[in-house]
Every structure is written in structure tokens, then in C-alpha cells.
């Protein structure tokens, strides 16, 4: 098969560019653990209120951190909000979000941060991230979930680590 000399050079340039991108992602995946959410765990969405983990009085920021120091936040996605509707977390600390949906497909995204995951009926969505900047952030649903989708949002406040106090119980609803 014949290929023009300049086109062959271009093919190498293109391959080089692609390899650079894939390489950067491979590198950050293995050196900094940068991955999209990918934790496959099932749950019965229809009986969340009866589950150990996602019963109403167990939701929100968990008082006990995980063994590695990260905080856990448990949320239920349901038409039309993420419950509890307000959470307060410290900046700079690893936070493990675990979400389940009570009804249909939802997507959760906190703009200007890397907190993003789909919440699929029948599965627990787990995503871990850190919020470097304190501030007030909206927590938005970004997957069509019905005619009230426009109104599906909650609030997260990120405070400086020194001003943050762990909650004494779970299930704190504003």
C-alpha cells in the first residue's frame, strides 16, 4: 500500500499526539488514582428506606471518618432533590460520596468541582473527590428525570478545615 511521505509523517504526528494523551491518562490513573467512578455495587432502589445504609436517619455527612481519614457522605437522589438538601464539608479533605436513587435515573454534578456521577436505579454510585476551594456550591441533577428535573438541586457548603466540625449524628435534615 502506498502512502505519501508527508502523509506518513502526519500519521506519526497524529499517533504521537494520541499516545501523549493516552499516556497522560494512564500515568495519572496509576500515580494519582485519577479514574471516573467505577465501583459496581447493586442495591434495591425500591426498598432504600429499609436498607441499613440509606435509611433516612443514616443519610448525610457521616460522623465517623473512614480508616484512611476520608469523610463519607451518603445521599439519596429522588424526585426532586438530593437528600439531605444541605451538607457542610471541609475543604481539602478526601470525601467519599455514596448515592442511591429512590426512583429513576439521575445525574449529580457539583459545578466547578469534580464531583460527578450518574445514579442508576439498582446500583450504588460511589465517587471520591476533594474540594480545594471553600464556598457555597449548588448540587445539580443533570440527567432528565421527569418534568420537575429543572428544580432538582441541593446545596453544599465547603468550609475551611479549621472551621469544620464533624456532625454528631447522621440524618441531619435542614
Amino acid at each position: 500500500m502506498h502512502i505519501n511521505a508527508l502523509e506518513k509523517r502526519w500519521l506519526y504526528v497524529a499517533l504521537g499526539m494520541i499516545t501523549l494523551f493516552v499516556g497522560a491518562m494512564f500515568f495519572t490513573a496509576y500515580s494519582r488514582n485519577i479514574h471516573p467512578p467505577g465501583h459496581v455495587e447493586t442495591i434495591d432502589s425500591a426498598s432504600l428506606h429499609l436498607s441499613e445504609e440509606f435509611a433516612e436517619d443514616k443519610l448525610g455527612v457521616q460522623p465517623q471518618p473512614l480508616p484512611d481519614g476520608s469523610l463519607q457522605v451518603k445521599l439519596v437522589a429522588a424526585r426532586y432533590g438530593f437528600y439531605p438538601r444541605e451538607i457542610i464539608v471541609p475543604a481539602g479533605r478526601k470525601i467519599v460520596f455514596r448515592l442511591a436513587t429512590l426512583d429513576v435515573l439521575h445525574g449529580v454534578h457539583i459545578p466547578m468541582t469534580n464531583m460527578s456521577t450518574m445514579v442508576v436505579p439498582g446500583f450504588v454510585a460511589e465517587v471520591t473527590t476533594t474540594f480545594p476551594k471553600p464556598g457555597e456550591y449548588p448540587v445539580l441533577c443533570n440527567e432528565y428525570c421527569g418534568l420537575g428535573h429543572d428544580h432538582m438541586w441541593s446545596k453544599m457548603t465547603v468550609v475551611a478545615p479549621d472551621s469544620w466540625k464533624a456532625p454528631t449524628t447522621t440524618g441531619v435534615q435542614p
Binding site: G107, T117, E126, Y144
Partner: protein, 540 residues
């Protein structure tokens, strides 16, 4: 060989396609106005989501499928210089597709199928929506069979000879489409239809999303390949030159077929039902499929460069100015290539594994696909419309200047509409909302972009109407031109020989099967191995 039957068949397909397109543009402008919140009296989530669902189905499934089928019949007959095989089957295919479209359109327009063009369960639409959509896909399979039979007939009559490039590409697209549509067909037949008809109560959403993802990526190549046929087969000659490399064109089509299929999980990066390893694997494949597009860029631009140099262009870039910008095919190609560059880069960002978190389901995503699909692909569909109409109707194109205005308008409208759309995505605006209701200061940054988008949409709507007008006037009032010169785009000089592996698909189907088994085997099987809790239907 393009007789009255074929002309009629093509015109029916293309009118349905372009009619759907123009109607969808009306809905589109309504949507961008409604979403801005600036016109209080039209605010309505129910109407908005019915509109978005209809707009998506018309643009993504109706415009595309009917255009591709109509153009396919034209290509097969013109490039192979053979009569259409089994016209009855072709009309049957059209009937099934058109019937399915109407069947789906009724619930859509009545607001009973507001599940968007992706129809993810467990939100459930009226059963006729799913039945209609399934019929549209099944009808298209009959078209693919006709294309492949005609190819086989030609190869038998011309043993060892290179398949004419336009037909090689069309056949690649048929093979691609048959493999691609299996995903959504499985989802429809085994999951959505039994569930919508009440035969089963629950549906495995993770499995449904995985099967849909199988289709969702390669379907965009199904849409893109006819645009690439225009770029490789029509554009070089229209510019006054010739195709830079026939073999590399074939290679590009083949690589799109191989790498475009097993990579759907970049649509599921943020999903919990598939693990990291599979997402990483699909990411690598997605980056691999960028290569044939990067090659296409070179081959097509090089063809243009040589044409421009032939016309007197000097120096490194002088040839750009000496190209025939007043030729609608060339103009469309130049603008389409520019949008391919920008939209393609956006696609690379989407494909970038964890970085997808920055853009997933934000306004960036519709910004991206309106640019790459509405831009790169549809611009060339419109240009092909201008090329085909004189031949199908035996009339001269109504007005070259209007065609140029229309193409520039389409480009301008897309730039004005999609640029702010991408910015809105980076500012965190979610997609698929009908209005902004968050009581958050962040949303104040969004308003100016929404306002600009309204004007982009208006320009696009005007351009779409102008396009339909030009075709209509050509057909009804164009200067009669019953004798058309042979279609150079369909009758290219091939390389004298082409290696066997670039001339057929039998062995490649085995490679595809292997790639699909590796990429989707376990990820689909897992839903039958682990215990899943399937939800029931929900309304909206």
C-alpha cells in the same frame, strides 16, 4: 442507470429527511427561546420536553436514516452502474421506516413520549413510541441488505477489481450499521418492548444503558460516513483537483468500522454499573478511532491544496484563496472541515476518561454534538442535497448564490449557537433542563450566553427554511436540464489494484466480532451473573 424508479425512491427518502430536518429546526428555536426564560408566556416543562424529544428523534434518527438510505440508493446505482436490486424490497423498507416514524411521532407530539431521543428507562413512554422506533431500525436493515447484495453482484461481475470508492464506503457504512444497531435492537426487543407492553413489570436499567451505549457511539459514524463520502468523492473534483489517495480513503473507512464499534463506554464513564478497567479499555479504543479522522483531514486538505495550486495558488497557504469558494460543495467542505476540527477536539475532551467528569451531562455535551453533527455532518448532507437534486429532478439548481448564502448562514448560526453552549457547560450548567430555577448566584453568569444562543438558533432556522425553499424551487421552477453530465463524484478513477484487505469485509467481520466480545462480553454478561434489582416503570 439512475432510472425513474430510483429517482422517485431517492426523492421520497430525501424529502422525508429534509422535511423532518426543517420541522426539527422550528422546535429547536422554540427550545432555545423557552430555556432562556426571557419569554415568560411560553414557559412549560411539558411542552419543552415533548419538543426536545421530538427534535432529537427527528434530527438524530429520521433526518439521518432517511438521508443515508436515499443517498445510498443513489450511490449504489451510480457508482456501480447497475440497476437497483429488488425495488419492491426498497419500497417495503421505505414503508416500514416511514410507518414506524409516524407511529413514534404521534405519541411524541402528543407529549406521551417525553423520554428524549435516548429513552433511558425506567421513565416510560407510550408503547407505540418504542414500536415505531424499532420499525425504523428494522426497515433500515432491509436497505443495508440491498446495498450489500448489489455489492456482491458487482464483485461477481468484476472479480479482483477495486470496488468503486463511493460504494466501498457505503458498504462499510452498512456493515457498521448492522453491527451498531444490534445494541439498541436487543434493548428494544428484549427489554423496552416487553416492559412497555406490560409483559414484564421491571427492567434492568444498567443493562439497558449498556446496550444503548453499544449503539450510541458507532451510530455517529453511521451518520458521519456519508459526509466523508462527500469529502473524499465529490469535493476534490469540485475544487478542480482529484483525490489525493484512494487507498488511504479506504483505510480511513475501514479503521472507522473497526475502532468505531467497540468503544461505547465513553458514554458511560460516570455510570456505576461498569468498572474502571472496561472504561479504560474503551477510552483507548476511542482515542484510536481519532486516527482515521486525523488521516481524513490530511487526505482531504491535501486534495484541496493540490487543486488550489493547480488554480495558481502560491506559497504555503496561497492555495486556500484560489479554491472555488463559490462552489457550494467546496464551500460546504471548507466550513465542515473547520467545524470538524473544533468539534473533534471537543470530542477528544469528552473521551478523556476521568476528565469527562468536567463536562458530563453539562451543556457542553449538546454544544459539542450540535457542532459536530449539525455542523460537520449536516452541512455536507445539505451540500449533497444540492448535488443530487438536479440529477433527481432533471432541473438546474435554482440559484447558486442562494445556496452559498444558505451554507454560510448555517455555519454562522452554528458558531453563534454552539460557542456559548460550550462555555455554559464549563460554567456547570446541566443539560436537559427546561429553565433555570436554581437559587444560586452561579446561574447569573449563564444568562448572557443563553441570549446569544437565541440569535444563533434564529439564523439556523432561517437557513434551514432557505434550504428547503431552494430544493423546492429547483424541483418546481428550475431550468429543465433532462440531460445531466455523468456524476464525476461517483465515477472516480480507482487505483489500478487495491489490496484484498481493503476491498472486502468477510475477514474484518471476524475481527469485529472479536473486538466486540472483548469490549462487551463480560460487561453485558455481568448483568446475568450478579444479582440485580430491577425497577418498575415510572412516568414523568
Amino acid at each position: 442507470m439512475i432510472d425513474a424508479t430510483v429517482k422517485k425512491l431517492c426523492l421520497y427518502h430525501l424529502w422525508l429527511a429534509f422535511g423532518a430536518f426543517a420541522l426539527a429546526c422550528v422546535f429547536g428555536e422554540f427550545q432555545v427561546l423557552e430555556r432562556s426564560g426571557l419569554v415568560g408566556v411560553i414557559q412549560s416543562p411539558a411542552v419543552y420536553f415533548a419538543s426536545v424529544s421530538t427534535h432529537g428523534v427527528l434530527m438524530g434518527f429520521v433526518l439521518t436514516t432517511f438521508f443515508i438510505m436515499g443517498f445510498g440508493y443513489y450511490t449504489a446505482v451510480s457508482s456501480l452502474q447497475q440497476p437497483l436490486w429488488n425495488p419492491v424490497l426498497a419500497w417495503t423498507s421505505f414503508g416500514i421506516c416511514a410507518g414506524g416514524t409516524v407511529m413514534a411521532a404521534i405519541p411524541l407530539l402528543l407529549g406521551k413520549a417525553s423520554v428524549l431521543y435516548t429513552f433511558y428507562p425506567p421513565v416510560q413512554a407510550n408503547a407505540f413510541f418504542y414500536i415505531g422506533a424499532t420499525l425504523l431500525v428494522v426497515g433500515s436493515w432491509l436497505w443495508a441488505v440491498i446495498m450489500l447484495v448489489m455489492l456482491a453482484q458487482w464483485k461477481k461481475a468484476h472479480p479482483g477489481q477495486p470496488v468503486p470508492l463511493p460504494m466501498f464506503a457505503t458498504a462499510t457504512n452498512c456493515v457498521l450499521w448492522l453491527w451498531t444497531s444490534v445494541g439498541v435492537a436487543l434493548e428494544a426487543v428484549f427489554q423496552l418492548l416487553p416492559w412497555a407492553l406490560g409483559l414484564v413489570d421491571t427492567i434492568d436499567v444498567g443493562l439497558a444503558r449498556t446496550l444503548f451505549a453499544w449503539t450510541l457511539h458507532p451510530i455517529v459514524y453511521f451518520w458521519l460516513i456519508p459526509a466523508y463520502i462527500a469529502l473524499y468523492c465529490y469535493v476534490p473534483k469540485a475544487a478542480g483537483g482529484k483525490l489525493f489517495s484512494d487507498e488511504l480513503a479506504r483505510l480511513a473507512f475501514l479503521l472507522i468500522l473497526l475502532f468505531g464499534l467497540p468503544i461505547g463506554f465513553h458514554h458511560l464513564y460516570m455510570d456505576p454499573e461498569q468498572g474502571h478497567q472496561w472504561k479504560f479499555l474503551h477510552m483507548v479504543g476511542t482515542f484510536a478511532v481519532a486516527i482515521p479522522t486525523l488521516l481524513t483531514g490530511f487526505t482531504v486538505v491535501a486534495s484541496l491544496e493540490l487543486a488550489g495550486r493547480k488554480a495558481g495558488g502560491k506559497g504555503l497557504f496561497g492555495w486556500i484563496g484560489t479554491l472555488p469558494w463559490r462552489n457550494p460543495t467546496v464551500l460546504a467542505a471548507l466550513l465542515s472541515l473547520l467545524m470538524l476540527l473544533l468539534g473533534g477536539f471537543g470530542g477528544i475532551v469528552n473521551a478523556s476518561y476521568a476528565m469527562n467528569a468536567m463536562v458530563h451531562n453539562t451543556a457542553w455535551v449538546p454544544g459539542h454534538f450540535h457542532l459536530i453533527f449539525g455542523g460537520t455532518v449536516v452541512t455536507l448532507y445539505l451540500a449533497l442535497g444540492y448535488r443530487l437534486w438536479p440529477r433527481l429532478c432533471g432541473k438546474a439548481l435554482y440559484c447558486n448564490d442562494l445556496a452559498l448564502t444558505q451554507i454560510w448562514g448555517w455555519f454562522l448560526g452554528l458558531v453563534v449557537m454552539t460557542t456559548p453552549w460550550h462555555v455554559l457547560g464549563l460554567l456547570g450548567q446541566p443539560r436537559r433542563i427546561s429553565a433555570v430555577n436554581y437559587n444560586s448566584v452561579l446561574t447569573l453568569a449563564w444568562d448572557p450566553y443563553e441570549l446569544v444562543m437565541i440569535f444563533g438558533g434564529l439564523i439556523l432556522l432561517a437557513s434551514a427554511c432557505l434550504f428547503v425553499y431552494i430544493l423546492y424551487k429547483t424541483q418546481t421552477a428550475g431550468a429543465p436540464q433532462p440531460e445531466q453530465p455523468p456524476d464525476e463524484g461517483m465515477l472516480l478513477e480507482a487505483a489500478p489494484t487495491v489490496p484484498g484487505w481493503l476491498n472486502g469485509f468477510t475477514a474484518w467481520n471476524l475481527v469485529i466480532l472479536l473486538l466486540m466480545l472483548v469490549s462487551y462480553g463480560y460487561p453485558i454478561a455481568q448483568f446475568f451473573l450478579i444479582k440485580t434489582f430491577d425497577p418498575t416503570a415510572w412516568g414523568y
